[in-house]
């Protein structure tokens, strides 16, 4: 069949060939403007970042030279980098777990019919639509050791006050709580959309089979939401790994580098040290981590499907 088509193509009269070629070009012409824009706004910065990671910028002479892999070697030998990676893993893991569990719980709650449900759906979105800087300033007030809301609550409960942002580990807990609060509504609205798409017949059939609430959740809801959960978790991990402003405004990476996650280190290299090569190197390593994570995550899930 294919051979037949190929031989037919060979016998197209010469005069008709330019017309066919033009016809074949048509879809590409439509794609061209968008492709050029995409190349410029997506690939150019990415390739420029990659190039910058192999250069050294001398801030005293305003000159750039090729550094080979020296930036990568310097970063990998810098204890700050490994500290930032360790802090990033803690930050991402607990943030995403917290966001997912709370977001999913809210989605299940809002999927039920009860008075005030619609109003609550709107209210729950507020943290998500707030700018990260505003969220950070709000939580800064909440965590204030002297006048903060949280310590006031602890005091009224007869508990000792806590210096939330003064200890490296406690500061990490504090920024994770703020981040969970900010981002759980994304999980809620996405999962709500998924829940709404599950056919009611599946639940009806399960009920007929005598399935309990927990059985219906485990054997109907979770499998039906599997693909959405995959996308949500992947997005949350990548976003959280790259998230900057909340932590920067709340702690600036301190105290004693306790919350210096990878994006804060990039900012420190780029805008305090003005070493764009080192900054780009960490950014490239972050990108690689994200890509590797995404590939592993998807392949593990596919394997479990099989």
């Amino acid at each position: 069949m294919l051979k037949e088509k190929a031989s037919q193509a060979d016998h197209v009269p010469l005069a008709a060939r330019p017309a066919r070629r033009r016809r074949n070009m048509t879809p590409y012409m439509f794609l061209l403007p968008a492709s050029i824009v995409l190349l410029l706004i997506f690939f150019y910065p990415m390739l420029n970042g990659l190039y910058t990671s192999f250069t050294h910028y001398n801030q005293y002479t305003d000159t750039t030279s090729i550094a080979g892999f020296r930036n990568y070697a310097a970063v990998l030998h810098d204890p700050s980098f490994w500290n930032s990676m360790q802090r990033s893993v803690i930050w991402v893991f607990f943030s995403v777990v917290g966001q997912f569990v709370i977001g999913f719980a809210f989605a299940l709650l809002l999927n039920e019919r009860w008075p005030g449900n619609r109003l609550m759906r709107a209210i729950v979105l507020i943290p998500w639509v707030m700018p990260g800087v505003s969220v950070a300033l709000t939580w800064n007030l909440i965590y204030n050791g002297q006048f903060g809301l949280l310590n006031d609550v602890l005091f009224r409960l007869g508990l000792p006050p806590t210096q939330w942002l003064a200890d490296p580990n406690m500061a990490m807990v504090a920024v994770i709580i703020a981040n969970v609060w900010k981002a759980f509504p994304f999980v809620t609205i996405t999962m709500l959309a998924g829940l709404a798409a599950i056919p009611e017949e599946l639940y009806a059939a399960a009920r007929v089979d005598g399935a309990s609430v927990l059985d219906r959740f485990v054997h109907v809801t979770l499998p039906q939401l599997r693909n959405i959960m995959l996308v949500v978790i992947l997005l949350m991990v990548v976003w959280t790994f790259n998230y900057f402003d909340l932590v920067f405004v709340l702690t600036q990476g301190g105290p004693a580098q306790g919350t210096e996650i990878a994006p804060i280190l990039v900012a420190r290299y780029a805008f305090q040290q003005f070493d764009y090569g080192l900054a780009a190197t960490v950014a490239i390593i972050m990108t690689l981590f994200n890509v590797i994570f995404a590939i592993l995550y998807i392949s593990v899930l596919r394997r479990s499907d099989a």
């Binding site: 105290p255 004693a256 305090q272």
Partner: protein, 433 residues
């Protein structure tokens, strides 16, 4: 190609033919859009007609009161010089580290920028600033502005800016709390300082508020102990004996004498500011900007200003200058220089300092009766020992390294010497790049 025809004849869009001319039109339109978009991004540059009025782009930062006054001055200048219009563009304080380097990298700097440390060194190192030596010859303010301020705008022997505002590290203190706790005068030595802080610490009140910062907190003590941040060759020296002594003194205030509220290790500027305003803290190291801020905030206690207490080697304070800088990329350098000279003229310098209650930057202003009151006396006292921060664009990295050292030492994760040695190694790497 007619869309109506396409839809009415029932064929899909992709099956339509595109002629070479149409294809070229698509490519041309795309390229035109992109080129047009690029041209629009060049909005940082000044504009003018061939003979008409020129418009200078002026970037500034800082407080609302300062910005309001700056804009008033701009309007007044345009009234006096109708051919020169000034477009002010405010850069939020926290956005300077990204905005200025981005503009420098993309050649979209304005005609004039008002900024402080370390951006004059950052822009000088990139050869972006106009040299003002000739333009300032014979100018009466050249000798009147304090030498310490000129040091901050002199790069490789050339003047690269006009000092416009000056902030020396001093203590802002609550006079009512001092009186209530029996501290009759502002302490002049470290020992007196410790004693005053202890007197004011009781219940939920504390003698001192602070936030870990190299320039604002550590450096004045380092200078008072006889140390320096960097030597003449830009090698870190803050980890030597005076630095260790200064950091140990700060640790003692926090951990041994416990004269600061719990949690100051994680404090930022706003925390210290809020704590002082609340009336529960005796004093905090700030600058003269606080005077007008606290007047506006109507704090319910009387503000006092005290010079840094002397250490074993005398007084130590950091003088930080804000300056007007003219870019050498400006098409209207002469007009821009005229604007900034006018803005720091004798009358306008006085007006600026007086309206905002900022410390004087020049001798003429200092002689005004407004500045001969006890509130401004510590600024005059500090002039004899105030130093400037090292002239390097990489200082923010040094500052960050010292800040981390202070936090580590305060947390007990390292001794003062170990923490400062670690910071010195980090700083050395940053200074070399």
């Amino acid at each position: 190609m007619n869309i109506d025809q396409v839809l009415s004849n029932g064929k899909s869009l992709t099956s339509q033919r595109v002629s070479r001319r149409e294809a070229l039109q698509v490519i041309g339109a795309t390229a035109g859009t992109l080129i047009g978009g690029s041209a629009l991004t060049a909005c940082g540059t000044s504009s003018s007609g061939s003979n008409g009025p020129i418009t200078l782009q002026f970037w500034d930062t800082f407080s609302t009161a300062e910005i309001t006054l700056l804009h008033q001055m701009g309007s007044e200048y345009t009234k006096l010089n109708p051919n020169v219009k000034i477009n002010f563009y405010e850069i939020p304080f926290d956005q300077r580290p990204t905005k200025i380097p981005s503009a420098a990298q993309t050649n979209s700097l304005p005609d004039i920028a008002r900024a402080d440390y370390p951006y004059q060194w950052y822009l000088s190192a990139r050869n972006k600033l106009a040299h003002l030596d000739d333009a300032l010859k014979g100018w009466d303010m050249r000798d009147a502005i304090y030498d310490v301020a000129w040091k901050e705008v002199t790069y490789q022997g050339h003047i690269i800016g006009i000092p416009q505002d000056k902030f020396t590290t001093i203590f802002c203190y609550n006079q009512d709390k001092f009186a209530k706790d029996g501290v009759t005068s502002f302490p002049t030595t470290w020992d007196e300082f410790t004693s005053a802080c202890q007197k004011m610490t009781h219940g939920d009140e504390y003698g001192l508020g602070l936030y870990p910062d190299a320039g604002q907190l550590f450096t004045p003590y380092l200078l008072g102990a006889g140390g320096k941040i960097l030597d003449a060759n830009f090698n870190p020296t803050f980890n030597q004996e005076p630095g260790v002594k200064a950091l140990q003194y700060i640790i003692d205030l926090v951990s041994k004498y416990k004269v600061t509220p719990p949690g100051v290790i994680g404090w930022q500027y706003a925390n210290a500011d809020d704590a002082l305003k609340s009336g529960k803290i005796g004093m905090v190291q700030f600058g003269s900007w606080i005077i007008d801020n606290y007047k506006a905030a109507k704090v319910p206690w009387k503000l006092g200003i005290g010079a840094m207490p002397k250490g074993s080697s005398g007084g130590g304070a950091v003088s930080s200058t804000t300056s007007y800088m003219v870019m050498n990329t400006s098409q209207h350098q002469k007009e821009a220089i005229d604007v900034v000279k006018w803005m720091v003229s004798r009358q306008n310098a006085l007006n600026w300092a007086k309206s905002l209650d900022h410390e004087p930057i020049d001798k003429f202003t200092a002689d005004d009766p407004h500045f001969t009151t006890p509130l401004f006396e510590p600024f005059k006292t500090s002039l004899s020992f105030a130093s400037v921060l090292p002239p390097t664009p990489a200082y923010n990295a040094v500052n960050q390294a010292i800040k981390q050292a202070i936090q580590k030492a305060l947390l007990g994760k390292a001794s003062p010497k170990q923490a400062l040695d670690e910071a010195a190694a980090t700083s050395k790497a940053a200074l070399q790049s």
